[in-house]
């Protein structure tokens, strides 16, 4: 089933949401989006961030780069300037390298997703066009009894042929091409074996 189209961008008033369900859904989506933005900001600009968010249910979500605790400690201790006490530059360099790798991977896979999504859209459009031209491509619920019976018969016939064809292809004798000089799996020998 194709992804259902969502409601798109709706302008919303910034005030407490009344409907509990909407509130929970909104929290979930926006929290996720917020962390995504924070992650991007860290990657693009090389800055250090911590975000703490309490859920409507009282659970706490947090995002931090390089990690939540160090940012909190730094903030609470009010030490000025970045990287004031970091003896572990090597560890940090290593971490940054793996983050770089991960971002590359993420970028790649997001591209692939986009490609597949577009492919799906094209296939949907093609199906839509066909549905309006050919009655047998319409959804089953829209067909009448005789049409359904004909379609069923045609499909059962096709199914038979498909099975036959598939069996032919999977039959070993067709997989080993004779090498002419009577190799081990020479066609004629296999045929002989079959006859026995």
């Amino acid at each position: 089933m194709a992804k259902k189209p969502n409601m798109g961008r709706q302008k919303i008033k910034i005030e407490k949401i009344e409907v509990k369900n909407h509130l929970q859904v909104t929290f979930s989506k926006r929290r996720s989006g917020l962390f995504k933005k924070a992650s991007e900001l860290c990657t693009l600009c090389g800055v250090e961030i911590a975000i703490i968010v309490f859920s409507p249910a009282g659970k706490v979500f947090s995002f931090g780069h390089p990690n939540v605790e160090s940012i909190i400690d730094r903030f609470l201790a009010r030490s000025t300037g970045p990287n004031s006490h970091d003896p572990f530059h090597l560890v940090e360099a290593q971490r940054n390298a793996s983050v770089r790798e991960l971002n590359l991977q993420l970028g790649q896979i997001l591209n692939e997703v986009e490609v597949e999504r577009k492919r799906g859209e094209n296939l949907d459009n093609m199906r839509k066009t066909n549905e309006s031209h050919y009655w047998w491509e319409a959804p089953v619920s829209k067909l009448g009894l005789e049409e359904l019976e004909q379609l069923r018969d045609a499909m059962e016939e096709l199914k038979k042929n498909v099975s036959q064809h598939a069996n032919k292809l999977m039959n070993p004798s067709s997989m080993f091409v004779s090498n002419g000089a009577g190799g081990i799996f020479d066609q004629s020998r296999v045929n002989l074996v079959r006859e026995l």
Binding site: E15, K36, L44, E48, I51, G107, E146, A154, E157, L158
Partner: protein
């Protein structure tokens, strides 16, 4: 909101990076505020950058201290349960994207095989197809046949239960369904075509272009009608 796609990598151009930082930091703070207001929850954000000696804080210093104190009061396990850093967060994003990709692949494959199936139903040969496609098409045919048979059952039951139909179940070519009347010409040519290819070994493997088929069938149907 600009529409160009941004690469997920450190911006090497200093001025571009600074400009991006200013914009995105502003946006981020706005989003934290909106989340807090919309959902009536407590939150805070702390941003350290090379552009400022002091961290940028939301909502403000006091508010942030309050939230952080609240955070620290929670048991260690609760704190870390939903805690993420860049690495874990990006890994999670990759995993979600991978799942999405898998699903899209599966859906697209089904759409492709459906299209192929309809082509084969109307005359495309099975010669060029590989085992995978044949197997998938077989599966799809089973799925469709299940639905069709179910619906046929349902319609037949309705036919039997309809008043004045008698005890027998006639094939009922013109019963009940308005949809059939609409489809009368096409269903006739489908039957004609089926009859024509009955003696062909491959059954539906006749390679006729769509247009030719329609023309041939319409002619056959007209002839049949003429004979009647």
């Amino acid at each position: 909101m600009t529409r160009k796609k941004v690469k997920l990598a450190f911006i090497t151009n200093d001025s571009a990076r600074k400009a991006t930082f200013k914009k995105r930091k502003k946006g981020l703070m706005k989003k934290v505020g909106e989340l807090s207001t919309l959902c009536g929850i407590d939150a805070c954000a702390v941003v350290y950058s090379p552009y400022d000696s002091q961290p940028e804080v939301w909502p403000d210093c006091r508010g942030a201290h309050r939230v952080l104190a609240q955070f620290k009061r929670m048991p260690e396990m609760e704190q870390s349960k939903k805690m993420v850093n860049q690495e874990s967060f990006i890994r999670h994003r990759i995993s979600k994207a991978a799942d999405q990709l898998k699903k899209l692949n599966k859906d697209n494959r089904e759409k492709e095989i459906t299209h192929l199936m309809y082509q084969c139903l109307t005359g495309k040969g099975l010669q060029g197809l590989g085992v995978a496609e044949l197997n998938d098409m077989g599966w799809l045919l089973d799925q469709n046949l299940k639905d069709i048979c179910k619906r046929i059952e349902g319609l037949k039951k309705a036919t039997v239960e309809a008043p004045g139909n008698g005890a027998e179940e006639k094939p009922a070519p013109l019963v009940l369904d308005g949809a059939m009347q609409r489809a009368a010409p096409p269903q006739q040519w489908f039957t004609e075509w089926m009859g024509n290819s009955g003696d062909n070994q491959q059954g539906l493997g006749v390679r006729l272009g769509m247009a030719e088929q329609v023309a041939a069938a319409v002619a056959a149907a007209a002839a049949a009608a003429g004979r009647r």
